[in-house]
């Protein structure tokens, strides 16, 4: 009996722990999106500079 109630207590504690981890989920997701976009921009930056230099009459 004591063992069972202990197990219940431990799992309850584990559950509250899980809920607390869930909370900062959104800001982390937003940061990831910004990083992916920046990665693309950094990759294309050299090509963009070249395009602007070589077509300066339209820029």
């Amino acid at each position: 009996m004591v063992g069972r109630s202990l197990a219940v207590l431990i799992s309850a504690a584990a559950l509250t722990g899980c809920v607390q981890i869930e909370t900062p989920d959104k800001p982390i997701e937003i940061n990831l999106n910004i990083n992916i976009r920046q990665e693309v921009v950094y990759r294309l930056d050299g090509d963009a500079k070249k395009l602007i230099e070589q077509n300066s009459e339209i820029f």
Partner: protein
Amino acid sequence: MTGNDMMRFKMWKPTGLALAAIAATAAVALAVPSAMAQRDPAYAAARAAGQIGEQPDGYLGFASTPTPAIRALVQDLNIKRKAAYTERAQATGSTVEQFAFTSGCNLIANTKPGEKYQAPDGRWLTRDGSPPVRNASCP
């Protein structure tokens, strides 16, 4: 040894020709932009007057209500820009919007003091000596 020297000798001529071809292409590539570098005088004037400016999306926009002539001029340049972005986007495996945005980061950075550009919040600002207000994703 002799075989290797023969190979080297045989390889030399085509390599020399290829180098000459590359040099000639480079010379043409360098000459063409300088010959085409001039902005249309009407475009240069509208830019200098702050009637039009650079948007974060890589296209030109109107900082104030344009005349029909300026509107037509900007539309024409934006169509040409979109064609150039589309070609480069395909070559780099990116979307037109991604390539245009990256170009916009550079075009705003390249604005001269007195020229107009659009901040990420939509306001039209006049470039001064300090760095321009750009999107956080700009390099």
